[in-house]
């Protein structure tokens, strides 16, 4: 109890309090008070997280046990919070980016009615609470509670404007697809309990050698199924683009910076399990790569500003899984961090644009916003440069680290990854060009309405832009500067077990400096060309009504994946459900119940006729019955 980190319970507790106050007092509290409470609790959590981070940095890791959560027979699950390098880093990202987004929301959601406004902040606080539970949990069960909680909040916030039924459909889609993944996660946890009888990270990782390779592969594949649902990977990624139906800050917080990285956190946390299952690692890498490239191609042709960012998020998450799959755990976590900065920035910038355009999201109706919104424009440009992987912006370092590790494992991975990076640069600058360059293409009213957003929106943008620029500097590759990768040194204890294992198998052979420079040069040069091409092309964009043809049509229809899922999953389920409700329910179950009623009715109508009222008839029946009883008694 003497450990100072025992107080970490405050970090998730404060957002929970904020949720309760805002949720219960939503009819009484004024908007400004709601905003102050909602953002204030997150700020307080952030300050504690900073304190915790420095404690951890000074070598103070701690598992705080509060009470027994489940205590049955041999299974003991404690309500534990594990504070170490990985979770403290995530705490900073969640509370830090979360706080900025809360501040942003106070302005962005200001047109809502006061009780909706409070409801929004209550949900947002509940989300932060669940996310903190997810990353702080000291065992898989606590992680699962948070895992479900963020899914719930995601559902609530996607469907925040529930009066439009499309939003509800998007929310349900997200929830159901997440459930598919959660089912895999839960099975993996049960499997662990069955084999090891514990879910504590420390115990599981200590006893990992007791598991057979079949068990490990099974567990990790199921865990990865959970990750594909939460982190929007093939085959469960289609919910994320639809999730853009929610308010833009929600997309920034939940569907870009934090919740969707839960899968990466979970795999990074369980890294030793994945390192011991080479098959799963290959699956993770291939799925990640496929997701990255598919989502990037779709993003090339989207016209909705948020949809482009959504597919870009899916694609970047694919990168992170590629990193996890090739064993570059640090790189994946690094990319989570830089991605949280620049993608939150891009989403918030897009939100600022949408705000100025009066709710317009179609980029074909934008253009030329550069001269109306200078702060949004500059921060957005920085975000685009960061995601495109231009040095020295943050995206360059993290992406490069993942690509280098991929090259070590298999040059094909690298090739596809670099191709995706080119596409990323292209679609991001298509987005930038369509939105900020050229002439304004919207209506006259919209042009009149254009304005720079208020400071509650621009200040978070500026802070995030600074982070998006400098955030990569904590992970400078070894070739540039010896000991420059401070993040790797910081996270070393988390991945130590995996690293020892990999070294002992002698799989790791470091790249020569020349190769590494060459790889970087190729990716930067390619991205730069794609960037300049897109800049040039889309700054002169004119609206046209040409029909898309051939391949362009396929990718602008998102490879028809939604249609495919509709045809193979939704339609059959609907027809089976229709069969059950029309035939089995009506004819079978109802028929049986009604049939019993009818039979009793008919039978009693017939038997009633026996009551003739004739005494002699009764006596005859009595005698006949006695005779029958005699016959039964004597002969049967």
């Amino acid at each position: 109890m003497s450990n100072t980190l025992q107080i970490v319970w405050l970090i998730p507790f404060l957002p929970l309090i904020g949720f309760l106050i805002n949720g219960l007092g939503r009819k009484q509290l004024s908007k400004s008070l709601t905003g102050i409470i909602g953002s204030g609790v997150i700020l307080a959590s952030f300050l504690i997280s900073i304190f915790v981070f420095f404690q951890v940095k000074n070598g103070n890791s701690h598992v705080a046990h509060y009470f027994d959560f489940i205590n049955t027979g041999s299974l003991k699950v404690g309500f534990d919070f594990q504070i170490d390098q990985l979770s403290s880093l995530f705490l900073l990202i969640i509370t830090g980016v979360g706080f900025l987004i809360h501040v942003y929301s106070t302005s962005y959601m200001h047109e809502e009615e006061s009780k909706d406004f409070a409801k929004y902040f209550a949900y947002l606080n509940l989300f932060v609470f669940s996310m903190l539970l997810l990353v702080m949990g000291g065992n898989y069960i606590i992680m699962f509670i948070g895992w479900e909680g963020v899914g719930l909040c995601s559902y609530l916030l996607i469907g925040f404007w529930f009066k439009d039924n499309n939003n509800n459909d998007a929310a349900k889609k997200a929830f159901i697809m997440n459930r598919i993944g959660d089912f895999g996660f839960l099975l993996a946890v049960f499997w662990l309990i069955a084999k090891l009888g514990t879910t504590n990270y420390h115990d599981v990782f200590d006893q990992v050698s007791k598991l057979s390779s079949f068990d490990i592969t099974g567990i990790t594949l199921l865990l990865f199924l959970g990750a594909t649902g939460k982190s929007a990977q093939i085959p469960l990624y289609t919910w994320l683009p639809d999730a853009m139906a929610g308010p833009t800050p929600v997309s920034a917080l939940i569907h870009a910076a934090t919740m969707v990285t839960a899968g990466i956190y979970m795999i990074a946390r369980s890294n030793i399990l994945f390192t011991m299952a080479p098959l799963t690692q290959s699956v993770v890498a291939v799925i990640g790569l496929a997701t990255a490239v598919v989502a990037a191609t779709i993003a090339l042709k989207q016209n909705d500003i948020k949809k482009v960012l959504a597919y870009s998020t899916v694609s970047q998450l694919g990168y992170m899984f590629l990193g996890l799959g090739v064993g570059a755990y640090t790189g994946a976590v690094f990319h989570v961090m830089t991605h949280a900065f620049f993608k939150a920035l891009l989403f918030l910038g897009a939100g600022s644009v949408i705000h100025a355009m009066g709710g317009e999201q179609d980029m074909r109706n934008m253009g030329g916003l550069k001269k109306y919104m200078s702060i949004t424009h500059i921060t957005f440009l920085l975000g685009c440069l960061a995601i495109a992987g231009m040095p020295p912006f943050s995206g360059f370092f993290s992406k490069d680290e993942i690509l280098a590790a991929a090259f070590e494992k298999n040059p094909v991975y690298w090739g596809v990854g670099v191709l995706t990076a080119f596409m990323t640069a292209f679609y991001m600058f298509r987005l930038y060009g369509l939105t900020f360059l050229g002439k304004f293409r919207g209506t006259h009213d919209q042009e009149h309405h254009l304005h720079e957003s208020p400071s509650a929106i621009t200040i978070p943008l500026i802070i995030l832009a600074i982070l998006a620029v400098v955030g990569g500097w904590i992970g400078i590759p070894e070739v540039f500067m010896h000991g420059g990768h401070r993040l790797e040194a910081f996270l070393e204890p988390i991945f130590a077990q995996s690293n020892t294992l990999v070294t002992s198998l002698n799989e790791k052979h470091a790249l020569s400096q020349t190769t590494e420079y060459a790889l970087m040069a190729v990716s930067v040069a390619g991205a730069l060309i794609a960037l300049l091409y897109a800049w040039n092309k889309f700054s002169k964009y004119e609206k046209s009504i040409e029909e898309e043809t051939g391949f362009a049509k396929v990718i602008s229809n998102k490879w028809y994946v939604d249609e495919f899922y509709n045809a193979i999953v939704v339609k059959p389920i609907q027809s089976i459900a229709g069969f059950f409700s029309n035939v089995v329910e009506k004819k079978g179950i109802d028929g049986f119940v009604n049939g019993v009623g009818k039979a009793v009715n008919y039978g009693s109508r017939q038997i009633r006729l026996l009551q003739t009222g004739q005494v002699s008839a009764y006596m005859l029946m009595m005698v006949v019955a006695i005779l029958i009883l005699f016959i039964i008694q004597l002969f049967l």
């Binding site: 009551q611 003739t612 009222g613 004739q614 002699s616 006596m619 005698v623």
Partner: protein, 107 residues
């Protein structure tokens, strides 16, 4: 005398009783037929009791059947008193002792 004689006589009496109950409509005749069946049963009980006493070593064997017969007689006597009272009441109400008039509870 062989036991068969008693059995056949009792059976004949009982059957006559049953047929009488089933076919006749006069309440008093039905009543007498019921008595006939009771007495057929009594006759059998007495006959078997005697047979039992004759074939058994135990002195008291079969005596319970004799007692049983007395019980039946007593119950029959009680039944006669109640039954005749019912028939009298029935005659007062319907001016007949035909059981087929006893169908007022129907419908």
């Amino acid at each position: 005398m062989p036991i068969n004689y008693y059995i056949f006589l009792a059976l004949a009496l009982f059957t006559i009783g049953v047929i009488g109950v089933l076919t006749r409509r006069n309440a008093i005749i039905i009543f007498m037929c019921i008595e006939l069946m009771l007495n057929a049963a009594n006759l059998l009980l007495v006959a078997f009791s005697k047979l039992h006493t004759a074939t058994s070593n135990i002195a008291t064997a079969g005596s319970d059947a004799q007692i049983f017969v007395f019980f039946i007689m007593i119950v029959a006597a009680a039944e006669v008193s109640v039954g005749l009272a019912i028939i009298v009441m029935m005659y007062r109400n319907t001016h007949s002792v035909d059981v087929n008039f006893l169908n007022r509870l129907k419908n």
